[in-house]
C-alpha cells in the first residue's frame, strides 16, 4: 500500500461521505422536525439522477441539468408532502413507513415506465473531465474533487443557516422540541413544506452527482437510503452535526474497508460499526438531548386482543377462523379437481407467508416492536436448510468452529438446526436493537437485516447474488415431502399449531406482561419487571416462527436467494400484517392471502403492477387503520 493510493482511497471515502450527508441531512431534518420517516427519500435521489441525465442529453448543459434536477425533486418533494406526508405527521411511524414504502413502488415503477429497465450512463461534464495532480504520483479525478467541494460547501452553508439565522433557529427548536415551534406562533405548514422540499433537492443534488460515478438505475435510491438511515441512526436522529460526522466516518469505513478487510466483512463493516455505536449509545452519537417521544405513538394500528372481545364476537371470530382453516384444508383437493396446480402453489405460498406475518404480528402487534427486518430471520432459516443440503451434496463437511457437520437433507436434523439458527439470529439482532426503541428500533432492525442481505449477496460457495439451489426437499420418515399436497398439509398444520400456541402465548402471564410493555413500558418497569428480557424473549420466539416459515419456504421453492432476506421482503411482510390487522394473530392469514392474491392478479394484468399497488397501499393506510380481519373482530378493547 503506497501513500498516494491511501490518500486517494481516503478522498474516495470522503467523497462518498459527503454524498451520504447530502441525503442523510434531509432525512434527519424531516425526522427530527416532523417526526416523519420518509423511506421514499431515496426516490428523490433517483429522480435527481434520472432527470439530470435526460436533461443533459437533451440540452447538453450540465448546469441546466443540475438545476432542473434539483427543482424537479423539490417539486416532487412538495407534492409528496402535500398529498401524503402531511396527513401522517400525527400518525404512527408504522403508517409512515408503509405509505412511503408505497411511494417507492410508485416512483420506481414510474421511472421504469419512462426510462425503461436498462441503467443509463451519465457522461462527466467536459469541464470537469480529467484529473488533477494533488501530490507527485497522485492523480485525482477532477469530478470527484468537485463532488467533495460541493458537499462541503453545502454542509458549511447548512451549518451557517442552522446556527446563524432565524430559520435555522426554528429548525433547531423544531428538532429538539416540536411543541416549541407551535408555541412560537410560526406558520408550521410552511416550515414543514420548506424543509421537505429542501431535503428532496439535496437528495437530488447527490443523485445527479452520482450519475457519472455510479450508474443510474431504478432501485439506486434504496441502497443509498439504507446507508443514509445507518448514518442518521449513528449520528442521532435530528442532528445535522451528527449526520455530517457519521456520514464522513461511514463513507471512510465503507471505502477503506473494501481495501483492507476481507470482502465478506467489508460489505457489512458499516453495519458492524452501527451495532457497536448503538450498543454503547442507543440514541446515536449526537442525539438531541431528549429522545423523541415515539413509543406511545407506535400503537396506532393495533386492533384488539381476542380475549377482550364480547362472547358473541368471540363466536363470530372463531367461526370465521374455523371456516378459513377448513377452506384452506380443501385447497389441494380443489386444485386437483380443477387440474390447476398453480392454485396449490399459490396457497402454499400464502400459508408460508402467513407464518412469517404471524411471527411479525407477535412482536409488532403484541409487543409494539415494529421490526423492519423480519425477512432476515426467515431467510436465515431458509439458508440453513439450503446450506446443510449443499454440504451433503458436495461431500464437503461444514465446519462451524469446533463442530463439523456432514450436511444433511434429513428434516429431523436440518429443521431444528435451521429454526435454532433463526432464533439465534433473532437473539443477536434483538439483543442490540432492543436497547433502542421507537424509530431507532425500526431502523436498526432494517439495517441489521440489510447486513445479512449483503452477506448473502457476497460471492461465495453459497451462490452469492444468484442464490443457492436445493437439490431435493427435506426427508421425513413416513412422509414424502416431494409430493406438493403433503408439503402443503404439513405447512398448514404447522400454521395452525403456531396460531394456537401464539394465541395461548399472548394471553399467558408472559403475554400479558409483554402487552403491558407495549402500552406503557414505564409503568411495567416501575412494577419491578425487567422488561428488556421479556421483549428479547418475545423477539426470539418470533424468530422461531420465522425460522419455521424459512424452512418451509426453502422446501417449497427449492431455491434460496438474497431476495428472501431483502428489505422489500421485510416490507411486504409488514404490509401483509397491516392488511390483516396487527395484534389479531389470525389476521396474518387474511393479510398474506389478500396481499399475494392481489399481487398475483395485478401482475397477471400488467407487468408494472407496482404502479397500481403502491397507490393502493397508500390509500389503504390512509383510510383503513384496523386491517381486514379487524373488521371481523369489530370494535375492540379500546375505543
Amino acid at each position: 500500500m503506497t501513500l498516494p493510493l491511501l490518500i486517494e482511497q481516503m478522498l474516495n471515502g470522503l467523497q462518498s461521505g459527503v454524498m451520504l450527508f447530502l441525503i442523510a441531512s434531509g432525512l434527519t431534518l424531516v425526522l427530527g422536525i416532523m417526526n416523519f420517516v420518509n423511506l421514499a427519500h431515496g426516490s428523490f435521489y433517483m429522480i435527481g439522477a434520472f432527470t439530470a441525465v435526460s436533461l443533459q442529453l437533451w440540452t447538453g448543459s450540465f448546469v441546466v441539468a443540475a438545476v432542473g434536477a434539483c427543482v424537479c425533486a423539490a417539486v416532487a418533494g412538495l407534492a409528496v408532502e402535500y398529498v401524503c406526508a402531511r396527513r401522517l405527521y400525527a400518525r404512527s411511524h408504522l403508517d409512515q413507513v408503509l405509505v412511503t414504502f408505497g411511494l417507492i413502488y410508485l416512483f420506481n415503477e414510474s421511472m421504469r415506465l419512462i426510462f425503461g429497465p436498462q441503467p443509463l450512463a451519465s457522461p462527466i461534464p467536459p469541464l470537469l473531465n480529467g484529473s488533477v495532480t494533488l501530490l507527485p504520483g497522485l492523480q485525482y479525478p477532477l469530478f470527484r474533487l468537485t463532488v467533495i467541494g460541493v458537499g462541503l460547501v453545502v454542509a458549511a452553508g447548512m451549518s451557517f443557516v442552522v446556527m446563524r439565522t432565524r430559520l435555522g433557529m426554528l429548525i433547531r427548536a423544531g428538532a429538539s422540541d416540536r411543541g416549541m415551534i407551535a408555541v412560537l406562533g410560526v406558520n408550521i405548514t410552511w416550515l414543514y413544506s420548506l424543509v421537505f422540499a429542501f431535503g428532496a433537492a439535496l437528495a437530488a443534488l447527490a443523485g445527479l452527482m452520482s450519475g457519472p460515478l455510479y450508474s443510474v438505475n431504478v432501485g439506486m435510491g434504496e441502497n443509498i437510503l439504507i446507508m443514509a438511515l445507518v448514518v442518521i441512526v449513528v449520528g442521532g436522529i435530528g442532528s445535522l452535526k451528527g449526520a455530517f460526522y457519521a456520514a464522513i466516518v461511514i463513507g471512510l469505513i465503507d471505502t477503506l474497508g473494501r481495501l483492507f478487510l476481507p470482502s465478506a466483512i467489508a460489505t457489512i463493516a458499516i453495519y458492524i460499526f452501527m451495532a457497536g455505536v448503538l450498543f454503547v449509545r442507543p440514541q446515536g452519537l449526537f442525539a438531541a438531548s431528549a429522545p423523541p417521544q415515539v413509543e406511545a405513538r407506535d400503537n396506532g394500528n393495533r386492533v384488539t386482543i381476542l380475549w377482550s372481545l364480547s362472547k358473541s364476537r368471540q363466536r363470530v371470530t372463531a367461526s370465521v377462523v374455523g371456516l378459513c382453516m377448513i377452506a384452506l384444508a380443501l385447497v389441494p383437493t380443489l386444485s386437483a379437481w380443477l387440474d390447476d396446480p398453480f392454485l396449490l402453489r399459490l396457497f402454499l405460498r400464502i400459508v408460508i407467508f402467513a407464518l412469517m406475518v404471524l411471527s411479525l404480528d407477535l412482536v409488532a402487534g403484541f409487543g409494539g416492536l415494529v421490526s423492519f427486518g423480519h425477512a432476515a430471520f426467515v431467510g436465515t432459516g431458509a439458508y440453513a436448510v439450503a446450506i446443510l443440503g449443499w454440504h451433503l451434496d458436495h461431500g464437503e463437511p461444514l465446519a462451524l468452529g469446533p463442530i463439523v457437520l456432514a450436511g444433511t437433507h434429513d428434516a429431523l436434523v436440518a429443521w431444528p438446526l435451521a429454526i435454532a439458527s433463526a432464533a439465534a439470529m433473532a437473539l443477536a439482532i434483538g439483543a442490540i436493537a432492543l436497547r433502542t426503541s421507537g424509530l431507532y428500533f425500526i431502523m436498526s432492525t432494517l439495517a441489521f437485516a440489510q447486513m445479512l442481505f449483503y452477506l448473502a449477496s457476497t460471492p461465495s460457495i453459497y451462490g452469492g447474488e444468484d442464490g443457492l439451489q436445493i437439490s431435493q426437499r427435506s426427508t421425513l420418515p413416513f412422509i414424502d415431502l416431494g409430493n406438493r399436497p403433503t408439503l402443503y398439509y404439513l405447512a398448514l398444520g404447522l400454521l395452525a399449531l403456531c396460531l394456537l400456541l401464539c394465541w395461548r402465548l399472548v394471553n399467558s402471564r408472559f403475554g400479558m406482561i409483554v402487552q403491558a410493555c407495549r402500552q406503557n413500558e414505564r409503568r411495567v418497569r416501575a412494577l419491578g419487571v425487567r422488561t428488556y428480557l421479556y421483549k428479547l424473549l418475545l423477539f426470539v420466539i418470533s424468530g422461531v416462527i420465522a425460522g419455521v416459515a424459512g424452512v418451509l419456504l426453502a422446501n417449497a421453492e427449492l431455491l434460496v436467494s438474497p431476495a428472501d432476506l431483502s428489505w422489500t421482503r421485510s416490507g411486504s411482510i409488514l404490509i401483509m400484517a397491516i392488511f390483516g390487522g396487527l395484534g389479531t394473530l389470525f389476521g396474518s392469514v387474511v393479510g398474506a392471502g389478500t396481499y399475494l392474491m392481489l399481487e398475483f392478479s395485478l401482475s397477471e394484468w400488467t407487468q408494472h403492477w407496482q404502479i397500481v399497488f403502491g397507490p393502493m397501499l397508500i390509500v389503504f393506510v390512509l383510510l383503513a387503520r384496523r386491517g381486514l380481519f379487524g373488521l371481523v373482530l369489530g370494535r375492540g378493547g379500546s375505543t
Binding site: W307, S308, S508, G511, Q515, A526, L527
Partner: protein
C-alpha cells in the same frame, strides 16, 4: 408500631446549580401515613422520586428495613415492595381495568416467564384482583378499558395497581390532583382505610386531607426539611406558619 421502615439520611439532589433536595433526613415509620407538604417547587416530587429509586441522589443514603437501597433503581425497589404512583397517571390504556390489576397481581407473584396459563383464569389472581377493585371502588368497572375511564377513576386504578402488588411502602404523589370534590372525598376515605395496613408516604396540597390522614407531617421549603411532627405540632409551629402556611396565604391574597 414505631419501627422505621424507610429512612433517608443527608439526602441531597442537585440539578445543575439548583439544590432541589437539601440535606434531608427523614424516617418513615411502619404502618403510618407520613405526609410531605410544601409550596410548589419545594422539592416534594424530587424527594419522592429518590425514595422510589427513579432519581439517584447526589449525596446521602436511603435505607429500607435497615438495608442500603441507595443504588437500587425504580424496578429494584418495586421488587422490594416500595411502590409509587405517579403525579401524572400511568396505566395501560388498552387493557381493561381488571387486566391492569391482574397483571400487577401476577407480577407480585414472581417472574412472568410462563407461557401457557392465562392469568385471568387463575383463581387466586382473580380473587386478589376483585378484592382490590372492590376496595378501590372500581368493582363495577372491571371490563371497562382503562383508556376511557374518567380522570379520577384512573387515579383509583393507579392505586389499585399499586395495591395489587401488596406493597410494603406506598409513595403517593398528589393522588387527589385534578379530581372533583366528590371524587377527592372518596379517595380520602379510601386512603384513610388503607392507613392501618400500609405504610404510606403522601405528597399532597390539600391541607384538610393531610391533617386528616397523616400521622406525621414533614414540611419542605426550598428543598429543606423545615419541620416534622404530628399534625397538631405542625399546625401550631410558628416557623412553619411563617415559612409555608403564611407564604401560601400571601399567594392567595
Amino acid at each position: 408500631m414505631t419501627t422505621t421502615i424507610l429512612e433517608a439520611t443527608g439526602l441531597i439532589k442537585r440539578f445543575g446549580g439548583l439544590t432541589a433536595t437539601d440535606d434531608v433526613t427523614l424516617a418513615i415509620r411502619e404502618l403510618t401515613c407520613h405526609a410531605l407538604i410544601g409550596p410548589n417547587g419545594a422539592g416534594k416530587t424530587t424527594l419522592l422520586s429518590q425514595l422510589s429509586g427513579e432519581l439517584r441522589p447526589t449525596a446521602g443514603r436511603i435505607h429500607f428495613e435497615g438495608r442500603d437501597v441507595t443504588s437500587a433503581d425504580l424496578g429494584g425497589r418495586a421488587r422490594l415492595g416500595i411502590l409509587r404512583s405517579f403525579q401524572i397517571t400511568s396505566v395501560c390504556d388498552d387493557y381493561s381495568v381488571f387486566d391492569n390489576v391482574v397483571v400487577a397481581a401476577q407480577i407480585r407473584e414472581g417472574h412472568g416467564f410462563r407461557f401457557w396459563q392465562a392469568p385471568r383464569g387463575v383463581r387466586a389472581l382473580a380473587d386478589t384482583t376483585r378484592s382490590v377493585l372492590e376496595r378501590t371502588g372500581l368493582a363495577d368497572f372491571g371490563d371497562v378499558p382503562a383508556g376511557v375511564l374518567s380522570h379520577g377513576q384512573r387515579r383509583q386504578l393507579e392505586l389499585a395497581i399499586a395495591l395489587a402488588m401488596q406493597p410494603r411502602v406506598l409513595l403517593l404523589d398528589e393522588p387527589m390532583a385534578g379530581m372533583g370534590p366528590a371524587e377527592a372525598e372518596r379517595m380520602i376515605e379510601l386512603l384513610g382505610s388503607l392507613r392501618a395496613e400500609y405504610t404510606i408516604v403522601l405528597v399532597e396540597h390539600d391541607m384538610d386531607a393531610v391533617f386528616n390522614l397523616a400521622d406525621t407531617v414533614s414540611v419542605l421549603v426550598g428543598g429543606r426539611l423545615v419541620a416534622s411532627g404530628t399534625p397538631q405540632e405542625i399546625r401550631s409551629n410558628a416557623s412553619v406558619r411563617e415559612a409555608y402556611l403564611g407564604h401560601e396565604q400571601e399567594d392567595v391574597a
